[in-house]
């Protein structure tokens, strides 16, 4: 029986994700119980807020080991926004902080471009942006290239190895990583639950993945 678990570590609005999965007729549970996390068949790590708060939220609830054990088992995990950033080695947000280190690389700040000729891109990056999809399978299996998704973030991930980047998007003249994958570890910088019907497809595709 499918056990989709959303990790509650004190950050972020989990309800939107629950809503999306319920709309897809998926049963989902929000929990911070280590056993339920370890034994989930699909795991979602949400997140909205600051990196260091995210890490301390996980640490204080004793969730780092259960997540590590879950990932070792080969079952799929999906990190969203801050959730994806936490999967990296470290982040530069408000100082240098260590992450879960499942995907080698760091989290860095978007450059604030405010010159008139740069179209006045601001930070946070808030709004819809097109994806150039590099790895067209798994969660992107039926997603047309150049599809638009909703982003809201001030930091982005820089994987050490290009092969972990599964899609990119342009922010002004910066090309930034929009999603990552390393084996069973997936991450999206954008919010599928706020990206209309194509966002729902991302969740559908994730739920279809086998271990």
């Amino acid at each position: 029986m499918e056990k989709i678990i959303i990790i509650d570590y004190g950050l972020g609005n989990l309800r939107s994700i629950v809503k999306a999965l319920n709309y897809l007729s998926k049963e989902v549970k929000i929990t911070n119980n280590p056993d339920e996390i370890k034994n989930a068949s699909k795991l979602i790590l949400p997140g909205v807020g600051a990196f260091k708060d995210g890490m301390s939220g996980l640490k204080s609830r004793g969730l780092i080991k259960p997540i590590k054990d879950y990932i070792k088992s080969g079952k799929p995990i999906l990190g969203i926004c801050l959730g994806m950033q936490l999967l990296m080695t470290e982040s530069e947000e408000f100082g240098l902080h260590k992450g879960l280190n499942f995907i080698p690389g760091k989290v860095v700040k978007l450059k604030d471009i405010k010159k008139v000729d740069e179209e006045g891109y601001k930070v946070p990056h808030i709004g819809w942006s097109q994806l150039d999809i590099i790895k067209k399978d798994s969660i992107f299996s039926n997603i047309p290239n150049k599809s638009e998704f909703y982003f809201v973030h001030s930091f982005y991930v820089k994987p050490n190895n290009k092969e972990y980047t599964t899609s990119v998007t342009m922010y002004g003249k910066q090309e930034i990583c929009a999603s990552i994958q390393k084996d069973n570890v997936f991450g999206c910088q954008f919010h599928p639950e706020m990206s209309g019907s194509l966002g729902l497809e991302i969740y559908k595709n994730f739920c279809k993945l086998n271990s």
Binding site: K19, Y23, G120
Partner: protein, 259 residues
């Protein structure tokens, strides 16, 4: 290519969407669920609900509306009106809001912006500024849905909320609101050029030209409108089509191909 966001605004009183002029008035224009769904299906990029008499009526009705209407709508929803405490913010986020808009409470206690940003993330905190012109190039911030003066200079206040950690500014021109005579371009341009967070312009859209000039001259990052949509003067697909023709990038929409 930065995409300009189109954000329909639904002013909610009890179970109805209402519309006023200069933020006053009680004309009922429709049902929140029906309008929200229609705008979502037409390609709205986000939705904005303002509970216009939150302090006078029972708060539960807006929570119920947020809960009910957000069930099958998958674009960001910002909810404002009468938010006083961090608990109010938490309650709204739990009910289905993705962001909250705060005005009155922020002017009385600016720390709530900072604490809200720390607790829930900057991107959840939209500071709503209602601006009334006092002389050319000068505007005063109002609260209580345009009913009370604050003595705050809008330009200084916008700078301050940005420093406190607001994620976005929702900038409404009280002079233009509901009149259909166009956005206050000077106001929008002044604030949008000054702060390094996104500015959502609101108040005054009467036709597509107003929207185009608000983006091109006003430098707005997002455009919110109410009357022009609720009274069916134009549809969202028509707005996006015209913006594209005028070189303004927008998110593509359409039930069959995307979102």
């Amino acid at each position: 290519m930065k995409k300009i966001r189109i954000i329909p605004r639904l002013d909610i009183k009890g179970p109805n969407v209402i519309k006023g002029i200069h933020l006053e008035g009680l004309r009922i224009v429709g049902n929140p669920s029906i309008l929200a769904k229609r705008y979502y299906e037409q390609g709205a990029d986000e939705l904005l609900y303002i509970d216009v008499v939150a302090s006078l009526y029972n708060r539960d009705s807006i929570l119920e509306i947020v809960n009910k209407t957000s069930k099958d709508i998958f674009i960001p929803l910002t909810v404002g009106g009468g938010i006083r405490t961090l608990d109010d913010i938490r309650t709204l986020l739990r009910a289905g809001a993705d962001k909250i808009a705060i005005n009155t409470a922020a002017t009385k206690n600016p720390e709530i912006i900072k604490k809200g940003a720390e607790m829930f993330g900057s991107q959840c905190i939209v500071v709503s500024i209602e601006a009334k012109s006092i002389s050319p190039g000068k505007w005063e911030a109002y609260i209580e849905n345009g009913r009370e003066k604050t003595g705050l200079d809008v330009v200084e206040w916008a700078k301050e909320v940005t420093e406190l950690g607001a994620g976005e500014i929702l900038l409404t021109s009280i002079d233009r609101e509901g009149t259909g005579t166009g956005y206050d371009i000077n106001l929008t341009e002044k604030i949008a050029s000054l702060v390094n967070i996104p500015v959502i312009a609101c108040g005054g859209a009467g036709n597509i030209k107003h929207i185009i000039e608000c983006v091109k001259q006003g430098k707005a990052d997002a455009i919110s409108m109410a009357s022009i949509l609720h009274y069916n003067k134009i549809t969202i697909p028509e707005i996006k089509s015209e913006l594209k023709k005028n070189g303004i990038h927008v998110r593509e929409y359409g039930k069959n191909n995307n979102n």
